[in-house]
Symmetry: C2
Subunit: 453 residues, 2 copies
């Protein structure tokens, strides 16, 4: 079944007016002062879905409620669960907003408001897409909505919620629209996220701080030792030296590398955007490959000795660093943490003792680019944008994806309607009107295409 | 002229009673609450010297006064200036003192009191030595006393004072007794101190903190870069890699190395005392050689990124470290600072910019062990201890010595009466009665021997 072109059937004024109503609710999940507003936004979404003929509930959690809704049309049809969040980032710094964050305003084709792109605008595009389809008749697939109110504070209630509602939340695919397309003219499907292993290295030298005059040259210096350890974790080619680190890495395929090489990326623009003159990194890989497809090791924090003004001639008793490793599909966070815990003592210089503390990890996740769902998404995007989607990955670790993958075992489909220039989390967050409307159309076509696959 | 054995002529009870009077004055220079007491201690010393027939003044400085006294007996005789300080460290932690810090108490042959060894006891031994000689007749040399009240706070008034009184303070040798003998049975003459070059390294990566998921692997990480730089500053043999760093080092002579090797030093005891299991350092040199006779490089502080609890996945925009290099005779602090300022940018990895800020430096100083003054000191010590002195150096940088050397151009003779076990700066500071009395005898013999040389 295909409805054909729905574009002419979309009431854009109405779609925008409804979104504006949602954007006006200051559902800042991080700020207790807005707790009632967060709930009000959840209830607003629930009521909307109920009005569309869904069975819709507001499920309590220890903090902000989850909107759960479903419309099950036919057990023999695929089931699609749409994830999103109705909470938003705080507005700070308030003085940098050109128009108030909770009074949505259109300028130059863009809707300015906190949450316009992240994620009210994108989540509501998916809701409106379903509604658009419903105008044509019954839905071609079973649809569940799972719209939470804690995403901007790390979704603390999500794992227990998923565990408690495991059976109810079964689906063939989970759709998430909460990010950015690669570029304006490039519809994008994200099929992988990196994982994470995060440790803290502690180095102990003498049993007390020592005077660097009386002891310098003879006593072990834990800061020098820590630097030596960290320097040894990578070689001259930017490769991580931990034995076994790369053993389980699923190599990038030629197709993936070709696909990414064809994307409109400029190293010069990338360098300009962060103000650097060179991009060190693992030799033999492009910038996109390094971010999306290769594991990395970054020190996220370091400390030891005297950090104040002026000079102090002390040899510190101890020093420490926080070190995170982004992992790629195939790698296992627990195993990688174990490997670095075994390796650091081996490369520590004589005279110091070391400890490597496990902070937390996250599974890398990758979905097959030739899955039925991804192919369906590509067809849907093609109908809107007139071209095939770029298949991208993301360098970050998205805990909700690992949770969906681990607890529900469900494939996740990222179909993003936003752009980096929307400035989510920043002042003057915005969402192009065109992207919002295209999102609605994409959502409708996606369900159709999923119904056809 | 030699007086022969003065031991029987020393009134020990009287000498101890006078020292106790001085020790009872809480002349804590760091604490404004004791400012009047500091002055009282200075005045006490001045009055004592005046009573001994010296022209004695209390010279004002912006903070605590200097005691200056002189007894010029014959322009054709050598002039000896005795330096010391009448101020003391704070008593903290007060609760750890077994007897009150400003109520001198004798236990097991030791005088317990703040300042007992550092430096009231040692400085007053020199005063009493002069008085002992005066009992026998006129002094064999011209004697000047320069006893300050700011040593424990870094002698802020000393350089201006020396500059203002340059002509008056001329001497053939300056005697300082403000440290420790190498070991109980080892009279010690210290003939060299290390210098210092202290810099701060700043590393800048991107123009803002970045998310390690979105940028990790591609963006430069200034903390990793800083660690790499620091690790590269030394090679596998513990040698500093800065080109030209060792060029001006005056090598240790075979005599020096033999002399130090003969001293009662145990690496195992040294390791036990600081709680480490190995002593890394420059290969090919003993522990004493590393501390006294070789330049070193120690990171004294490091910082960057997230230092709080838990984990944060940030790539910091900047990182920094404080790095000090102890220098040995021949090396010049300004030159060394310039060398590291040139070298760090060369070894910095691509993608970061670095800056090396000059904090301050200090000249290394070494005096000839065959100088007339040192030979005289050795003869004096031999008369007291029945054996030759050990010729040691110290790993620290003593600014006053560099100031004497640079401003007055005068040789400095360290003849220490204390021991490490006296615990200067710690609770329950003490000074062995025997060491105090031997100090008085040494001081008297030293002036005789200097008069004979």
């Amino acid at each position: 079944m295909t409805t054909g072109d729905l574009s002419s059937k979309l009431n854009r004024d109405q779609a925008q007016a409804e979104l504006f109503d949602l954007l006006r609710i200051p559902s800042v999940s991080a700020d207790p002062a807005y707790r009632a507003d967060v709930r009000r936004a959840g209830e607003w979404v629930r009521a909307k879905l109920e009005g569309m003929g869904f069975t819709a509930r507001l499920d309590e959690t220890p903090l902000h409620p989850v909107v759960y809704a479903e419309r099950l049309v036919d057990p023999s049809k695929p089931t699609v669960m749409i994830y999103g969040h109705y909470d938003v980032q705080p507005e700070a710094p308030a003085e940098e907003w050109k128009t108030p964050p909770f009074e949505p305003t259109v300028r130059d084709g863009r809707i300015y408001a906190r949450g316009s792109t992240d994620d009210k605008g994108q989540a509501y595009a998916n809701i409106k897409g379903v509604e658009l389809l419903l105008q044509e008749g019954e839905l071609p697939v079973n649809v569940k909505f799972f719209i939470e109110g804690e995403e901007e504070i790390g979704s603390p209630s999500i794992v227990p919620y998923l565990q408690a509602h495991k059976d109810e939340l079964t689906a063939d695919v989970i759709v998430i629209s909460d990010g950015s397309r690669f570029a304006k003219d490039v519809p994008t499907i994200t099929y992988g996220v990196r994982g994470l292993s995060y440790v803290e290295i502690h180095v102990q030298g003498a049993n007390r701080d020592l005077h660097s005059g009386s002891y310098g040259g003879a006593a072990p210096n834990p800061i020098n030792a820590l630097c030596e350890i960290i320097a040894k974790l990578k070689d001259d080619q930017g490769r991580i030296t931990i034995p076994g680190f790369y053993d389980d890495v699923i190599p990038l395929t030629d197709d993936e590398r070709k696909m990414w090489a064809s994307l409109p990326h400029s190293d010069q623009d990338f360098m300009n955007s962060i103000g650097v003159k060179a991009l060190p990194g693992e030799e033999g890989f492009s910038t996109l490959e390094r971010i999306w497809g290769r594991p990395t090791l970054d020190v996220n924090g370091i400390w030891g000795g005297y950090q104040g003004e002026g000079s102090k001639t002390v040899i510190a008793a101890k020093a420490g660093a926080k070190v995170s490793m982004r992992l790629v599909p195939g790698q296992n966070p627990e195993k990688i943490t174990k490997l670095i815990q075994e390796y650091v003592p081996q490369i520590a210089p004589a005279g110091v003792s070391v400890e490597v503390i496990d902070h937390h990890g996250g599974q890398p996740v990758k979905f097959a680019t030739d899955s039925q769902a991804i192919q369906a998404a590509n067809r849907a995007l093609h109908r809107v944008y007139g071209r095939d989607a770029a298949f991208a990955r993301t360098g970050g670790s998205i805990p909700i994806v690992a949770a969906f993958s681990e607890i529900l075992g469900t494939e996740v489909l990222f179909v993003d309607y936003g752009l980096n220039e929307d400035a989510p989390h920043s002042p003057n967050e915005s969402f192009a009107q065109e992207d919002y409307f295209n999102g609605i159309l994409t959502a409708a076509y996606l369900l159709e295409e999923l119904g056809n696959s």
